[in-house]
């Protein structure tokens, strides 16, 4: 059984159908990406998986807990074992970076202040942030730094699963690739399961174990990138067309 089980999830916004029965299962220690066109319900699915939005039908199990069927205590216990990186970081704007990273530990663990401070240093180093960023407010950081700070916060409670919502959007390619490498390291060295919602082709080709394509409310393709690229689906074909074109050009030149 996988650490994440999405079973027949159906979502409607009023009359408008979003998911018409989405199924997949993710096993521990893998880096899985969810792709799909704008408005295909990727972020909605993510919100359903982390227990923020109730699907109209179907179940989502994370670490064996039914996020919408089990008791609030059980779901809260799961929430302490997952880390979420929201699209724009969602750092608390009145707290410094260090206070943001320390907040989950302060709320859920009884740790003495020196230990908390040491842990903040660890998470900042893991996310690739300099110590000087610790005293800054989120508004004083660049977009890339904000994402790193948010990742540091997401890692604070040693999560088993990380959910990342478009982690590389708005970053320059160099920063984005460094981010990919960092996430890959979390999977390879620490055995964390990572679920990414992304649009970034380079992330898909460089770092991801498996791609799930969401279109017309269903999973259209599911597997390693090289296989998914050649699936016979119009959306998938045009999605990867740019890349195939570029690579073809390289071979020719």
């Amino acid at each position: 059984m996988g650490v994440i089980e999405v079973d027949n999830v159906v979502t409607r916004f009023g009359e408008q159908p979003v998911h018409a029965g989405v199924n997949f299962s993710i096993s521990a220690g893998t880096l899985v990406a969810l792709i799909g066109g704008s408005g295909s319900g990727k972020s909605v699915l993510l919100r359903e998986m982390i227990g923020l939005l109730r699907p109209d039908a179907g179940t989502v199990r994370v670490l064996g807990t039914d996020m919408w069927g089990d008791t609030e205590e059980e779901v809260d216990a799961v929430r302490r074992q997952i880390g979420v990186l929201f699209q724009d970081g969602a750092l608390w704007s009145s707290l410094t970076v260090a206070q943001n990273v320390a907040a989950p530990m302060r709320e859920h663990q009884k740790l003495p202040p020196p230990v908390v401070r040491a842990q903040v240093r660890l998470r900042l180093a893991q996310a690739g942030l300099p110590l000087s960023a610790a005293t800054k407010l989120p508004s004083e950081l660049s977009g890339g730094m904000r994402k790193r700070a948010a990742l540091a916060r997401a890692l604070a409670l040693e999560p088993q699963i990380l959910f990342l919502d478009e982690p590389t959007s708005g970053l320059d390619p160099i920063t984005a690739r460094a981010f990919d490498t960092m996430v890959r390291g979390l999977v390879d060295d620490l055995g964390i399961t990572v679920f990414i919602v992304t649009h970034d082709l380079d992330t898909l080709l460089g770092a991801v174990d498996r791609v799930i394509v969401l279109a017309q409310g269903r999973v259209r393709a599911d597997g390693p990138v090289r296989e998914v690229m050649h699936v016979d689906d119009p959306w998938v074909r045009s999605y990867f067309a740019v890349r195939t074109m570029l690579e073809g050009g390289d071979d020719g030149g």
């Binding site: 410094t96 401070r117 842990q119 660890l122 893991q126 110590l131 005293t135 040693e158 390291g185 620490l190």
Partner: protein
């Protein structure tokens, strides 16, 4: 051997001497986040010698947080974690340790945000207030120029925006203004009536309410309500627009944000506030009229007759003349705070709060100024 440490042990780790005579720190049990405090104490109790090797033979598992505590303890003992020999570790814990030991150089302390002393904070605040006031004066000038431009080219007035703002700041404020001023009228009449009854001067309550409400209470109270309602709304609207770079988009179209956003709001508020104040005059007198009969035995007819004698038009005019001036400054502060807000959501909230405080202070200062002027003029 004197070079070797005295063997010490705890639930979490033990310092011992290995067969070849080297010091060995042997980790025990499962090292995880919830036990971090105990692990840190256990590590702190060991005096780790410089040339130590770390053994994982008795270690069940370890996470990054615990591995970091070990790295910190090693650094504190003057050992570079990266160079430490790891002995008898299983693959997974070894990877975690190696990964964590690569992070961070030396035992650095986390910097803390500098706090200013009381005096420095006072000075900083004073300078900020000065900057804000100077900014307001600049903004006042810009708005005046935009208004002058409008005199020369009346076609540039954005009528649609003006009507929308008039609806929001004026018409939509009618219920709350009516309710509050009605209650104020009742309260003034009641309090005055308690005193007046003692001297049998019941009828003078009408003088008090008539003059007091139209000249002072209605303008001030309505202006405070509008400052809280519309001044704050202006800052929030323009602040949100600035966050979304909408104001920059207006500028890049070659339009003046002053003309598009500020002037319609200023004019709308200057139109609506006098009307609201007039409504306030009427409602507070109605409130007094309402309570006059049951409490003071003044019939509505008597009340109105007395009102006609006691309340000369100039008192009402004084109140209504103040209203557009209040409105001008409330709108000016509200739009200015919104246009210059910092580019994050928290700043919009702070600016909105600040607008309300500034507008209310401005209204009361202006009212005091008016009182002096009118007194000198003998009005």
């Amino acid at each position: 051997m004197p070079a070797n440490p005295r063997p010490t042990a705890s639930r979490w780790c033990a310092l011992e001497t290995d067969p070849s005579g080297r010091a060995r720190l042997s980790l025990r049990g499962a090292w995880h986040l919830p036990d971090l405090a105990a692990i840190q104490r256990a590590l702190g109790a060991q005096s780790i010698p410089p040339r130590v090797i770390v053994s994982g033979a008795d270690l069940e598992s370890i996470d990054t947080s615990a591995a970091w505590m070990l790295a910190e303890a090693l650094r504190a003992a003057g050992v570079a974690p990266r160079k430490v020999e790891l002995q008898d570790f299983e693959a997974a814990p070894r990877r975690v340790l190696e990964r964590v030991f690569e992070l961070g150089e030396g035992s650095q302390t986390l910097p803390r945000r500098k706090r200013l002393g009381a005096l420095a904070q006072f000075g900083k605040s004073a300078v900020e207030v000065g900057h804000t006031c100077a900014g307001h004066v600049t903004f006042l000038g810009e708005t005046m120029l935009a208004l002058l431009e409008l005199l020369r080219h009346p076609g540039r007035l954005r009528l649609k925006e003006l009507t929308v703002q008039f609806e929001q700041t004026g018409i939509n404020a009618i219920p709350v203004v009516a309710l509050v001023t009605l209650l104020i009228g009742i309260v003034i009449a009641y309090l005055l009536g308690l005193q007046a009854e003692k001297y049998g001067a019941n009828l003078f309550v009408v003088d008090g309410v008539g003059i007091g409400a139209t000249r002072e209470f209605a303008p001030i109270i309505v202006a405070v309500i509008v400052a809280g309602r519309s001044g704050a709304a202006f800052t929030a609207q323009l602040g949100a627009m600035r966050l979304g770079e909408e104001i920059d988009a207006i500028r890049t179209l070659g339009l003046s944000p002053q003309q598009v956003l500020v002037v319609p709001r200023v004019l709308a508020l200057m139109l609506s506030l006098p009307l609201l104040v007039f409504l306030g005059d009427v409602m507070s007198i109605l409130g007094a009229l309402w309570i006059a009969e049951p409490m003071l035995d003044i019939t509505p007819d008597t009340f109105l007759a007395r009102l006609r004698e006691a309340l000369s038009v100039r008192h009402v005019v004084v109140g209504l003349v103040k209203a557009p001036v209040f409105a001008f400054f409330i709108a000016l502060i509200g739009t200015r705070m919104g246009m210059t807000v910092g580019r994050d959501t928290r700043a919009v909230g702070l600016a909105t709060t600040s607008t309300v405080v500034q507008s209310i202070v401005a209204v009361i200062l202006l009212d005091a100024l008016f009182a002096i002027i009118f007194q000198r003029l003998g009005i």
